[in-house]
Every structure is written in C-alpha cells, then in structure tokens.
C-alpha cells in the first residue's frame, strides 16, 4: 500500500464536511445529495467519468458556485462559502484543471495577484514567501520566468504555490495529472506527500484508477452526480490493486460497463492499466509516403505558437502522434496541413505533389481531412440539420447537389447511412446539429471526414472531454482507419492515448519538433516526457 499511512498521526476529525450537497443546472443534476468528509493529512481521491459531477463539487467548495441544497461545515461549523475569496479565507486552495496563470505575467506577479494590503507590490516579501512554499513542496520555481515559458509541470507547481500562498489547510487538485509527463507526475506525487505530512488535507480529482490507488488514502466515486461508493483509509489499505479496480469500476460505470467495451478496453480507458501499442507491422519505411512537410513555418500569434521549420514524413497506414503542451503549435500544425493556414516558408507535399499553395477544398479533394478540436464552432454549423452537416463538404457535388439544388433524397439517404454506421444518436437526421451531445457531435465530424475516401486524416484532440464509451469508439475508429492503410496525424495532450495509438510520437515545443520516439517499448511515455520537460528547460529562459 502507499507510504502515506503516516496520515494516521494526524487528527481524524474532518476539516471540511459536505452535507447533502446538491446542485442542479438546466437539464442536468450535477450533484445529488453528496455527503463527504475531508480529513487532515490525507489524500482524498474523487473518481468519476467526465460529467459525473466532480468539477461542480469542487467549484462549490471553491466558492465559484453555490449549492442548491445542503451545506458545508468547516471544523464542524456550518459556513457559507460565497466567493473564491471566502473559500481562501477558510483555508481552501484550489488548483483548477485549466491553468489560471496569466501567461504574459511573471511567476511572481501571478503569485502576488491574490495578495491584498499595501498599495505597492511588495516583491521582496513575495520572493521570501515563495522560497518558503518551494521548500514546503520540495520544488524549485524561478520567480522571474514568464508563466508562458514554463513547462506544464512547472506551471502546476506555481499553481500549487498560489493555492498554498495564504496558508491553506485544504488543497484541491482538479485532474492535475491529465496532461503531465510521467516525471512531472512523480514530482507532483512527492509534493503532495510532503504537504500531507504537514497535515494539509488534499482532495485529488482524477479519472485514472491507478493514480487513485497509488496516491489516495481515501477514495470516493461519483457517477451521474451521485456519490456511489466511498472507500475509507482502513479498507483501502486492505485492498489489492485488482480488487480495488473491480470495486471502483463497478461503481463508476454500474451496468453501463459492458456497453463501453470489453474488460481490457475499460481498464485502459479508466487508466487502471498503462496503454501499450500492439504493433501490427514492424516497419513501414517501404510504405508509400503520403504526407510530407518540408521545413514548414507559420506565423505565431500572441496567444499561440505557430510552427517553425517543421519537417515530418507520414506513410500510408502509419499513425504519428504529436505530444506537447497545449498551445505550442499543435493547432498551427493541423491547420497548415489542412490548408487553413498558409506556410510562410517551406512546402507541404501530398502523395508527392506540392500542395503548399492549395486551399482547404482542393486538399480535401486529394484525400486530406482534418478533424478539428473546436467541434462546436469550427466543426459544425450548429443551426443546420445533422444531415446537412454530414454532407457539408459535398456542397455542389453530384449526386447530392443537382443543377445547383439540394437533392434531398440523396442527402437524406447518405445521412441516414452515416448516422447508422457511426452510431450517431440523434432524434432525427433533420434535428439541429447544435442540439447533439459533445460525443455525438464528434461522431458526426468523424462520419463526415472519414467518408468519401480519405487518405490522410489529422485528428486534433479527438477524445478531449468525451465520455469513456465515446472515447473508446473514437479510438477504435482511428485504429481501424490506419489498419486499412490510412495515414493519421494524431495531435493529443493525453499521453496514454498517444501511446495506445501511435507508431511514433513526435514532441512539439514552442512550435518546433524537438524529438521523436519510436513507440516500441513500454518506456515510450517516459521518453516522451523527457523531451517535453527537457525542451522547456533548455529553451525556457532566454526568450
């Protein structure tokens, strides 16, 4: 079991208790009668799928939302956490899933943001407070680095320092590991351990079972807004990893478990097991070269890196994964391949032909497709029907358009076929596309992009924010496509996903490809992580 049994030395009285907490949003019961105790010196893991209600629960504790029913007690006293400020005053510090650092400011400025009192910024006292907290976390943080220049793991350390700035007693970490490299996860683990030794209560939200097992002292499982299972410290200590996995999986998915996939899929998806790629072919160097980027550069924007001097070769039947911190040129890479952004220098070749100057439509005709990560805005036209969205890229083409007019029977027939083939759940093919759930919108996009003979598909974060059943389905679609000889450029921030699907993983940092790892050993994730951390360290400070 884990090393944190030392927690027993701290008082067993809960520092925070949630009592019958409920929260309803229009159409969704986000939290339903949740009662939880958070004890000092322990790591309390909250497990659950996307949409299970974990984030709502946290935002209630953080003062961002007010519960509709129930209440919160701190040290046994009923309290009203009316704002993030009052949460802070009660000693609750939160590290959100999405960074709240201001990227154009320095680390020190970010940390001083929560400070009140005194008109002028007191940089010296902030520096010494940072030194204190760094020692407490066992990390080193450069106070003068700009937040944008930090690697993800370092950004998170700053976020934790920020949450602990005013001496919090409860630290909430919302999915802190979802995009971290393995090394950074180990650092985080060490910091959490130091904090709990000091008697800090940690609430750790995750959807990965193996992390809950290794890091948690207590585990609670949420499903559809309800607290389904709680495992206290004593019980958890007596459970083997396998028994723990069984118990938690049953709680997380209930009867839905068989609908998600087979047992192996479920364990992979829930992060109980580490993914490894089963390689079907040993070498692809004899396959046809379908996509070739030669020294491509695109312009940067103030908020996102463009790509600079990127070269890449993608062969038929191959999946190249692209790993990296969000915003480091991934979108530019996808868009320069898709034709949405013009390269300022370098060339893009498709099947050996130079397509650098061709637009989106012309590249589509040549078999290139792009599944965007901005599903709702860029992916679909929300006010058009599902059927029209499915055939959006066939506008003007026979047989769906005849003499400049929509041929309804042909459109409807093809749409019906696609809806069935990709199991898109929609009330009708004439329903508004914007009314579909996120998972079904993604399936709609896949149906559209993967029909009509694609040869190369760029996927940008294809499973981000989806429920596990759809995640599994999407990954299968990617695998099948590659299996049938399609070439895939897979951009993702989920390392597990990259390792499961890719033949090679390229690492992008500040718009450059800084390394490439053959995915042929269980060591891939660590090697990728080394590139991610290493490149940020070496390039981080002199820009």
């Amino acid at each position: 079991m884990n090393a944190r049994s030392a927690a027993a030395t701290h008082s067993n009285t809960p520092v925070v208790s949630m009592r019958h907490v409920g929260k309803v949003f229009p159409g969704v019961i986000a939290n339903d009668d949740i009662t939880l105790d958070i004890r000092p010196g322990r790591v309390h893991c909250l497990l659950g799928e996307n949409g299970a209600g974990k984030s709502t629960l946290i935002s209630i504790l953080a003062g961002m939302q007010q519960p509709d029913t129930g209440w919160i007690e701190i040290d046994g006293q009923k309290v009203n956490i009316s704002s993030p400020r009052s949460a802070m005053d009660y000693g609750i510090g939160v590290v959100y899933q999405h960074s709240t650092l201001i990227s154009t400011m320095t680390v020190l400025e970010n940390l001083m943001l929560g400070v009140t009192g005194g008109a002028f910024l007191n940089r010296e006292s902030a520096r010494s407070r940072l030194t204190e907290i760094s020692a407490m976390l066992g990390v080193e943080i450069d106070p003068d680095a700009e937040a944008a220049d930090l690697a993800l793991g370092q950004q998170q350390q700053v976020e934790i320092a920020k949450a602990m700035w005013k001496g919090s007693r409860v630290l909430i970490l919302d999915e802190p590991t979802s995009m971290l490299a393995p090394q950074a996860i180990a650092d985080l683990d060490a910091s959490v351990e130091r904090l709990t030794k000091d008697g800090i209560a940690v609430i750790f939200i995750t959807h990965k079972l193996r992390e809950a097992y290794s890091m948690g002292d207590e585990v609670s499982v949420l499903r559809r807004g309800r607290l389904i299972a709680s495992i206290d410290a004593e019980t958890l200590e007596g459970l083997s990893e396998e028994k723990f996995t069984n118990a938690v999986l049953a709680a997380m998915f209930g009867d839905d478990i068989s609908a998600i996939g087979d047992r192996n899929d479920v364990e992979l998806l829930s992060g109980a097991k580490v993914a490894t790629k089963v390689r079907t072919k040993s070498s692809r160097s004899d396959e046809k070269l379908v996509l070739h980027l030669a020294d491509v550069t695109t312009p940067s924007t103030p908020t996102e890196f463009g790509v600079s001097n990127v070269s890449l070769k993608l062969r038929a039947g191959e999946v190249i994964g692209v790993a990296g911190i969000d915003g480091h040129g991934q979108s530019a890479l996808a868009e320069v391949v898709a034709g949405q952004v013009r390269a300022t220098s370098g060339s893009v070749f498709l099947d050996g032909d130079d397509v650098t100057k061709l637009g989106v439509r012309a590249r589509q005709e040549l078999g290139l497709r792009y599944v965007t990560d901005d599903r709702l805005h860029e992916g679909i036209v929300t006010d058009l029907s599902v059927a029209l969205n499915l055939l959006l890229k066939q506008i003007g083409k026979l047989p769906y358009w005849k003499r400049g007019q929509i041929s309804k029977p042909d459109v409807d027939a093809e749409a019906t076929r696609l809806v069935e083939a990709f199991e898109i759940r929609t009330p009708s093919i004439h329903a508004r596309a914007g009314a579909l759930s996120g998972g079904n919108i993604q399936k709609l996009l896949l149906a559209r992009e993967l029909s009509h003979q694609p040869t190369v598909v760029v996927f940008n974060k294809p499973t981000y924010g989806l429920d596990l059943k759809t995640v599994n389905r999407v990954r299968k679609i990617v695998k099948d496509f590659a299996e049938q000889g399609g070439a895939v450029l897979l951009i993702s921030t989920d390392l597990d996903e990259l390792v499961e699907l890719s033949d090679r993983v390229a690492i992008i940092s500040r718009g450059r490809l800084v390394g490439e790892v053959e995915n042929n050993s269980p060591d891939t994730a660590r090697q990728v992580g080394e590139f991610m951390v290493g490149s940020a360290h070496s390039e981080g400070n002199h820009v």
């Binding site: 935002s59 953080a62 961002m64 939302q65 704002s83 993030p84 400020r85 802070m88 939160v94 959100y96 709240t100 650092l101 201001i102 990227s103 154009t104 400011m105 400025e109 970010n110 001083m112 943001l113 929560g114 400070v115 009140t116 009192g117 005194g118 008109a119 002028f120 910024l121 920020k162 103030p302 908020t303």
Partner: protein
C-alpha cells in the same frame, strides 16, 4: 511666404504640438486604464465632448480655469457611471453602449451649445501660465514648453502616476489580470467587477479632463464636435501602446506634430487645399496602423463582460 525657421515660429510650432497632444495623452491614459482591465470604452469621444462643453461653460460663467477643468472631469466621470452600469454591472455589449455614448455626447453638447451660445459664440481668454523658473527664460523652448498652464504639468504627472500604478501596485496588477484573464483574478480572490468599475470611472474622468483641456487650454472655446475624432485616435494609440505609458506620450506627440505641420503648411506657399491638410493627422494614424498594426495587442478579455462560472 513666411520664414518658417525664425525662433518665434518654431516656438509657436512646439506650443501647437503640445496643445494638440495633451488632450490625446489624457484621453489615451484613461483608455489605457480601461483596456488594461478589459473594458473597451468606445464612448470616449462622447466623454471628451462632455468634458469640453461643461468645462467651457463653467469657465465662461465663473472665469475660473480650475473650476472649469474640475467640471470637465466631473462630466466625464458622470458619463462613465452610465457606462459602468450598463457594461460592467449589466454585462451589455460594450461596443453598442460605447457608440451610443459617443453619439449622445456629441448630440447633447451640440444642442446645448447652439441653444445657449449659438448666437454669441463666446471665447475664453488666455489661461494663466505656470512658468518654470530659469527654464522659461531659455530661447525657443522657454516660451513654448516652460510657459505652459499648470494643467499641462498635471497631465504629465498623471501619466507618470498611471505608469507607476499599472506596473508597481497591487491595484495595477489586479487591473492587468482583469484584462488578461478575469477568471484568474476571480479565482485569486480579486473582485473583477469592482476593479473594472473603478478603472472605468477613472477612465471617464481622464477623458473629461482631456476634453476640458482641449476646450480651455488648446482652443480657448467650444465648438460642436470639436474633438473631431481624438477619442477614436486615443483608442488607436492605446492599442498600439499596449499599456506602455511612454508610448502613449510618444504617439500622442506624433499626432500633435502632424496636426501642427498642417498649420505650418497652410502658412507656407505650398498650395494645398485645406481639406487635404486637415486629413494629415488621420493619414498619419493610418500609416502608423499599417506599419505597426501587427504589433498591436489587446488584452484577451477586452470587451468581454465577466460572469463568474460562465465558460
């Protein structure tokens, strides 16, 4: 043909540059504060006109330039209360409200002016100068730079203060955070609405001051729509300066120079139509934009009302 290189002429030229630049500096300071916090004040033109008109009326009635400037500041401030309520508290569209305020400002001041002073078109006298000892006796710069009214020096001090506030105070940090990422400020326990409210009110006061300066110090009178786009130019100056106050001052003076060059051209023998000459400052702005627009940068949260928990 006038010899444009006499000392008197150069001194007049410099004074002209200052007279055109300072209202723009003041307006841009207010706009910078607002934009840094994420509030786009398109109503600044209207606020400057309000400041100009009420400053003019007050000085005309009381003969006090000090009271006139105060009245101008108050007028801009009052108008920004309206903006704060509609934009920040109620979260309405900042562009629509801003344009409405600009039209209201221009409309109300014109109507009031025509109905009250339309027949008499009164003018104010010269404001008292505040000569800087020793320096004011220098040739050329003495009479042009160091014999300015006190308000000129106040404007420069304010520019320095705004710069220090933005860079070195807790409040300035909160202002920048509100414009960069209001969620971060909220999560850090700051109050986005209060921060933006405060800054927007300050911005209105600055715009009112700028308008009053234009009427009292630069023009010596009020004419309808006398700001002739300075408010919009302030928005451009703000976007190009990105919160750097030295840039605000420098680009305002570039504008001032282009206005004064126009006057010079009218006096020399170049046979240019006055319409072309009046276009010069705007041509200068356009050229500046074409050259520098790529480096202009607005805070990501600019113009976006903040609602907690909304994504």
């Amino acid at each position: 043909m006038i010899d444009i290189f006499t000392t008197t002429f150069i001194a007049t030229f410099i004074a002209g540059v200052i007279a055109s630049a300072i209202p723009l500096v003041l307006g841009s300071l207010g706009e910078t504060l607002g934009e840094q916090s994420g509030v786009l004040n398109l109503g600044i033109e209207g606020m400057m006109l309000f400041g100009a008109y009420f400053g003019f009326v007050t000085t005309l009635e009381t003969n006090s330039y000090f009271l006139g400037l105060l009245a101008g500041i108050a007028a801009g401030f009052v108008m920004s209360i309206l903006m704060v309520m509609l934009n920040i508290w109620l979260g309405l569209n900042q562009i629509v409200i801003g344009l409405a305020l600009t039209m209201i400002g221009g409309g109300i001041t014109s109507v009031l002016y025509f109905s009250t002073y339309g027949q008499t078109t009164p003018r104010l006298g010269q404001p008292d100068v505040f000569p800087i000892p020793v320096l004011s006796d220098l040739p050329v710069v003495g009479s042009s730079i160091f014999q300015q009214p006190l308000a000129f020096w106040i404007a420069l001090v304010l520019a320095f203060v705004v710069s220090v506030v933005l860079r070195n105070t807790n409040f300035g940090l909160r202002v920048r955070a509100a414009g960069q990422n209001p969620n971060s400020l909220d999560a850090a326990g700051g109050n986005v609405v209060r921060t933006r409210t405060f800054v927007a009110l300050l911005g209105g006061a600055f715009a009112g001051f700028g308008g009053a300066y234009l009427a009292l110090m630069s023009a010596g009178t009020f004419t309808p729509f006398m700001t002739s786009g300075i408010g919009y130019i302030a928005i451009v100056v703000t976007m190009l300066s990105r919160g750097r106050i030295l840039w605000v001052i420098a680009s305002s003076f570039v504008y001032g120079i282009s206005v004064s060059v126009g006057t010079v051209l009218q006096l020399t023998s170049f046979d240019l139509p006055t319409d072309v000459i009046k276009m010069l400052p705007f041509v200068a702005v356009m050229i500046t934009l074409i050259v520098f627009a790529r480096s202009s940068y607005v805070p990501p949260a600019l113009g976006v009302p903040y609602t907690r928990g909304a994504r």
